[in-house]
Symmetry: C2
Subunit: 183 residues, 2 copies
DNA sequence: AATGATTGTTTATTATAACGCACATATGTA
DNA sequence: TACATATGTGCGTTATAATAAACAATCATT
């Protein structure tokens, strides 16, 4: 979906026309000048969020009704297309698979840890949970004062309100799935 | 959801922080200056749609991830709160119950027709269908060259690509439900 | 401490979104 | 025909979004 301006324009015009509103009445309802409304419909303007908000609010439609983003039912994510967040000189790589979405309450990562690499994460807010599943390798973890080892194929869930360390003591790369949950 | 600017700010900062990006790198990825990004995060700016688009696109998140509109699972609509589209000197009133949404392919109205009132609608585009259910009164309709009468409780579906007329020949107000479908 | 690198903020300038008003073009009314 | 009302568009002005560059604050390493 390229060129939102054009998109918003046709959407707005559709909504307005199907209701039989004129630019004048629409301007009155929304509090946006009719000149601006006309320009937006023609794709000649680049509205700000507050303007869009006034329009959506006045017309009693949702924001995305104006944006019209296609809610692709199925989303295929290619790991090689994702640029990871790297630490540990590139030996600790975090791939955001399904990034943070405020509507959802979680996000999903794939993490790769090279041998002899160790990463310590600061404690997160109370209630934040991590769900870790080790897919390849053997993972050493230090959570608060606990120490434990997760074998390949096993999983762990823990409250992340304390500093926690991921460590690869083996000789092969560790790949793990990480689900982060925010309350 | 009041004050979108603030909302967008915290959303953007959340996404950026959870990925460990700095303003600089975010600016590089999105093509939006880091000064602007900072102001948006602090709610001090009122971004345009293209700016939001660049951010969403660069960060590979959906538009509504930034907007964060909570998709209220259940929506209660109060008819008395809806200002109708009136014609026929106020004797023909159309209440948009679930207004046009490009993602959906239909919209829903309640229509009230006072006695002795008649309304003729222009033909719509090919493929557009109307679903009419009469809830109160007795409705006379003229669709193309057809003429018919719909009793209380009955329904009708027709292709709206020809002019069609709604008429109240009785002595009580007609209330009907109208579903408009766009192909 | 001193240096350097990286972070986010502030400032000055440019580009343009938004407004109000005037204009033009219908569409109907006496 | 002339008049009236309502439609959408164009124009000049003002407010402000967006940028680039300078600045300040934080942290790391020597």
């Amino acid at each position: 979906m390229e060129n939102i301006q054009k998109n918003i324009g046709v959407n707005l015009k559709n909504i307005r026309k199907t209701r039989g509103y004129s630019l004048d009445t629409t301007a009155e309802i929304t509090g946006v000048s009719k000149a601006m409304l006309g320009q937006i419909e023609r794709g000649e303007s680049n509205p700000t969020v507050t303007t869009l908000w006034k329009i959506a609010s006045g017309l009693q439609v949702s924001f995305s009704s104006l944006i019209s983003e296609k809610p692709s039912d199925v989303l295929h994510v290619d790991l090689t297309k994702i640029s990871p967040i790297v630490e540990c000189n590139g030996d600790y790589r975090v791939y955001p698979i399904f990034p943070f979405d405020p509507r959802k309450k979680f996000e999903l990562f794939i993490v790769e840890i090279e041998p002899d690499c160790q990463h310590t994460a600061d404690k997160h807010n109370d209630g934040v949970e991590e769900y870790v599943t080790v897919m390849n390798g053997k993972l050493d973890m230090y959570i608060g004062d606990q120490q434990l080892q997760i074998q390949q194929g096993n999983s762990i869930r823990f409250l992340a309100n304390k500093t926690h360390t991921y460590k690869n003591s083996g000789d092969e790369v560790i790949r793990l799935q990480l689900v982060m949950y925010y309350p």
